[in-house]
């Protein structure tokens, strides 16, 4: 249970979303009837599916993993073929154990060099989408490769693969390596003991061959990437934070977002800040945001909340005292769920708010009627919440 659940402490089946409670109770009854394990609203393992599945070792290298949610590609970070499907395809897969699909074309995106301090996987994927378009990956399965990708930890790799769907790719994936195996070892549904070793031997055969040929290759110099921020209503409407709304920006997104062509992005006043989602709601995301917020407070009048990606993330963060840093800084500390990454008629920000958000979509109305969403890394969200305007996290030393 993730999309529809309430994230306010003390929650139960009731939700502010119209029809939400019925959805929860019907799903629970159907799961019970079919003998399907459900991580339910009040279960200690509850969380966003793309956070919980890796935590549990459900996703494994070389497995085929599908879910009726477009961000299933997140789990390609483990060298799985993982992608989002529609409800009819989910029905088909449960009825037949298979899916019918057309073999995708192959693309490799190689990030050379190393990221500068304060620059994150979120900035890598937004750079790719800003340069090559929100439709740039259409028809392709994308492998992310290169020095800067190998250097990422598993959580960072998940952030990178998460937004392959915003690139219109079928999926994003990363070759498994020692970091992948270390992450999975000992997790609840991962193989154990000798079976784990046998699995690793198999997983080591999965990476693309030396000299493998892809239908298309894209190279990006990771060392030149700066923190990214969106200015419009598609993830392709993104810019380096020191940049401006393009002089030739289309009329409709500019009008919706209430910005002017040529306007600098730094300094644009915000009303609210959101940290969470399957993109950036994991422990490392919360740690990096908390490092900036420690000993500081959000600017006056800013509504700010942090929603851990799973209850396990929430507990781990509390064990480190991150919750106290967030609340002392003026953030609400929530239970896990998809929360205000999207609007379903329940909770939202005040109408017309300008929100800086660690989520994945800045569509018109995505976070609520007339809400203006700027997507960015958790660091950029935290820095902007402190300043009260869009701000460069590198200017705020941790």
């Amino acid at each position: 249970m993730d999309h529809i659940v309430d994230t306010r402490p003390g929650r139960g089946d009731q939700t502010l979303m119209p029809g939400g409670q019925a959805f929860i109770t019907e799903t629970r009854a159907a799961a019970r009837e079919a003998g399907i394990t459900l991580f339910d609203v009040t279960d200690p393992d509850q969380g966003i599916v793309h956070v919980v599945s890796p935590e549990m070792g459900i996703v494994l290298p070389g497995c085929t993993l599908i879910a009726p949610d477009s961000h299933t590609c997140t789990q390609g970070a483990f060298g799985a073929l993982a992608w989002g499907i529609g409800s009819s395809e989910a029905e088909h897969s449960m009825a037949t154990g298979t899916l019918r699909l057309t073999r995708p074309k192959t693309m490799r995106v190689t990030f050379t060099g190393t990221l500068a301090p304060g620059v994150t996987p979120k900035d890598m994927i937004l750079t790719l989408i800003a340069r090559h378009g929100a439709g740039g990956g259409k028809g392709y399965a994308v492998e992310f490769a290169g020095e800067a990708v190998r250097a990422l930890d598993m959580e960072g790799r998940m952030t990178l693969c998460n937004m392959a769907t915003e690139f219109s790719a079928m999926t994003g994936m990363i070759a498994p390596d020692a970091k992948t195996y270390d992450w999975l070892r000992g997790r609840r549904y991962a193989p154990r003991d000798a079976m784990f070793d046998r699995a690793v031997a198999d997983w080591q055969t999965l990476p693309s061959d030396e000299g493998a040929r892809f239908d298309i290759e894209i190279d990006i110099d990771a060392s030149a990437i700066e923190p990214m921020i969106s200015w419009g209503t598609s993830p392709e409407h993104s810019s380096g934070i020191s940049g401006s709304v393009p002089a030739d920006a289309p009329e409709r997104p500019v009008a919706y977002m209430g910005v002017e062509p040529g306007q600098k992005l730094i300094g644009l006043p915000i009303d609210a800040a959101f940290i969470g989602s399957c993109t950036n709601g994991r422990l490392s995301d919360l740690r990096r945001a908390a490092a900036l917020l420690k000993g500081r407070h959000v600017a006056s009048g800013i509504k700010a909340l942090v929603v851990p990606g799973s209850m396990a993330v929430r507990r781990a963060a509390e064990a480190e005292g991150l919750d106290r840093i967030f609340t002392a800084a003026g953030f609400e500390w929530r239970m896990s769920g998809c929360s205000m990454c999207f609007y379903a008629g329940g909770e939202s920000f005040p109408a017309g708010s300008r929100v800086i958000s660690s989520t994945n979509r800045n569509f018109e109305g995505r976070q609520g009627p007339n809400i203006r969403t700027h997507i960015a890394s958790p660091e950029t969200v935290a820095a902007s919440a402190i300043v009260g305007c869009i701000a460069d996290p590198r200017e705020i030393a941790a």
Partner: protein, 205 residues
Amino acid sequence: MKPFTTLTAVAAPLIRDNIDTDAIIPSREMKSTGKTGLAEGLFAPWRYLSPGGRDPDPQFVLNQPAYAQAEILLGGRNFGCGSSREHAVWALAEYGIRAVIAPSFAPIFAGNCTRNGIVPVVLDDDAIAAIGEDGGLVTIDLAAQTVALQDGPHWSFEIGAEAKAMLFEGLDPIDLTLKSRADIAAFQTADKVARPWIYLGDLMP
């Protein structure tokens, strides 16, 4: 599923790039767990004057009398991007849309269309602009893979053989797949030996 052979209908122009499934049907309009009762929420953010309201915005194309009977939608690049929600296609189908013509589609959306009797037709920008400007009836012939205006211009489009067959014959893909039941079982038996860790059910305590 209703088979799609040919269709002659009005085409409503909504030619914007990156029309996402949140715009086609926002989450707040997905009030049931079923596939019906969604048409009213179709394009709610643009179709109605206020969020959650039902007063039609006269500016929105489907609210204009000329397009009241539209069964074809003209869209822009990357149509149907964003959330995988099949409700977007169910809402279009329930409203009465039988084909969407756009320069490109988001892949999950296109797959959902073919499973619900809506033809995703890919034509270039110039063709779509011409159809929009013509404003008359448009004929889509799935067998011939053509789109034609009443007197003159016509264009060919590409569609995958399987998607075409499913739409044309109104096939249920589950039945189609279950014809290969023996092959599926043989694969799974061999794969369970090669990769037992993939089969969770066998490893559960």
